[in-house]
């Protein structure tokens, strides 16, 4: 069942990249980065086999992965084609969330978004909300993704272990029952020489899926695909599978990434409570009508 679901997700994601949408990019651009618009007419070298390593940037420009109004393939904009396949519980949970973006947005003072104040947004929200320049590192045992946004990282195990099905799996060293995690548990494998698929579960259901308050449950299962299209490009997709909240899986994000130079330095983007407090005091609270005492 899981294998069939993964295969379906891979197929859907693969088809949906044809054709890969080209983005016109004028400004903004990250200094030192290379975008597809800089290399018109290029003929990239073939993809290396089973290799995701490097620094990756949205190929169309730095804003390509910033999804303020919700998951990139399903922004919360009221359009019928972006309506998610909610279960009754999913819709009820979504309507109980009070995001600061999307069709159910509220002023920031009224939000119940679990992320503000430098709380962890976890995975997959980091990708469904704010995927920026990221470094991927491969070792014999795992694939590690270092994310720019809030300077976070996660490990996808490739040593053959399975996702924790229950509390007693000793592979993970997890207690009984296995604790839920902000970033879940992730395992991955190569489907062919150019396609790597990871699966994740075990999420802390206090997090949201995206910036628009889309919910998930403790049954969330995420399928993450990386297809090395050529030397310079990686196609990434995220599929959400949560039968408690959604009647069927849905592809939330598709991003085409471009390889940057080996010496490309990812900037620091840290969420510091001391700075957030100052921002709220000087700006966000007065903007929301909350006066200082």
């Amino acid at each position: 069942m899981t294998r069939r679901l993964v295969a379906s997700a891979v197929a859907i994601a693969a088809v949906s990249f044809l054709p890969v949408r080209a983005r016109t990019q004028d400004v903004p651009r990250q200094p030192g980065a290379v975008y597809d618009s800089d290399k018109k007419g290029e003929k990239p070298a073939p993809a290396p086999k089973r290799d995701l390593t490097g620094v990756w940037e949205p190929a169309g420009g730095p804003s390509g992965g910033v999804q303020a109004t919700g998951a990139g393939q399903y922004p919360s904009d009221g359009k019928p084609e972006h309506e998610l396949p909610f279960t009754p519980l999913g819709r009820e949970t979504f309507m109980a969330h009070k995001p600061t973006f999307g069709v159910t947005q509220v002023p920031s003072a009224l939000t119940n978004d679990p992320m503000p104040g430098c709380n962890p947004q976890g995975f997959p929200r980091i990708v469904l909300h704010n995927f920026r320049t990221s470094r991927i590192i491969q070792t014999p045992e795992n694939v590690v993704v270092l994310y720019e946004f809030n300077k976070k990282w996660r490990v996808i195990w490739t040593d053959g272990r399975q996702l924790p099905k229950d509390a007693t799996d000793p592979t993970w060293g997890a207690p009984d029952p296995a604790e839920s995690r902000w970033w879940g548990y992730s395992v991955g494998k190569w489907m062919d020489d150019y396609t790597f698929v990871a699966e994740s579960n075990g999420f802390d259901d206090r997090t949201w899926l995206d910036n628009a308050g889309r919910p998930h449950s403790d049954a969330l299962h995420v399928i993450e695909q990386y297809h090395r299209a050529d030397r310079d490009h990686l196609e990434m997709s995220i599929t959400i599978d949560d039968p408690k909240m959604y009647t069927k899986p849905w592809v939330a994000v598709k991003l085409r990434l471009r390889l940057q130079s080996p010496g490309f330095d990812i900037r620091e983007m840290e969420c510091a409570p001391i700075e957030t407090e100052e921002y709220n005091k000087q700006f966000a609270d007065p903007a929301a009508g909350i006066d200082a005492k």
């Binding site: 903004p28 600061t100 920031s108």
Partner: protein, 144 residues
């Protein structure tokens, strides 16, 4: 039935959305995206940090009263991508600031653009005025 109601509910909210900024992640609801306010002022603070940077400056309103404004941008990485830096502004700089004001009438907003003392214009990254559905932005009149 529930679905139809919910769909109409979502559409109602959608109609209230006029513009979506590309950068910020701290919400649109407090701001009036159909307006722009442009004024000359003196910088009192340029706070370069996450989650968002903000500029504090003093500007005179229509009556000549000095008004203290606070206006945000997006975060430092986004602003670097738009050509800004930590040293773009310093205390005492005479600048012309265009803001997207909050709806509650306070001298608070988002920076649409800043003209620096050397004449350079920095784009705030919140996009142009909506093409439809809004009144013309106020300009040149100081605080509202």
């Amino acid at each position: 039935m529930k679905h139809n109601f919910a769909t109409r509910y979502l559409w109602l909210f959608a109609l209230l959305l006029v513009a979506v900024p590309a950068l910020a992640h701290h919400g649109n609801a407090a701001f009036d995206p159909t307006k722009r306010v442009t004024m000359k002022g003196t910088v009192t603070q340029w706070f370069w940090a996450n989650p968002h940077c903000f500029l504090q400056f003093d500007a005179k309103d229509e009556s000549g009263n000095l008004v203290h404004w606070v206006a945000e941008t997006s975060n430092p990485p986004d602003m670097i991508n738009h050509g800004w830096s930590k040293s773009s502004l310093k205390v005492g700089d005479q600048v012309t600031v265009t803001v997207i004001p909050v709806k509650n009438g306070k001298p608070i907003g988002r920076i649409a653009a800043v003209v620096l003392p050397n004449g350079q214009t920095l784009d705030g990254g919140f996009g142009p005025l909506p093409q439809t559905g809004g009144s013309a932005g106020s300009a040149g009149g100081g605080s509202k």
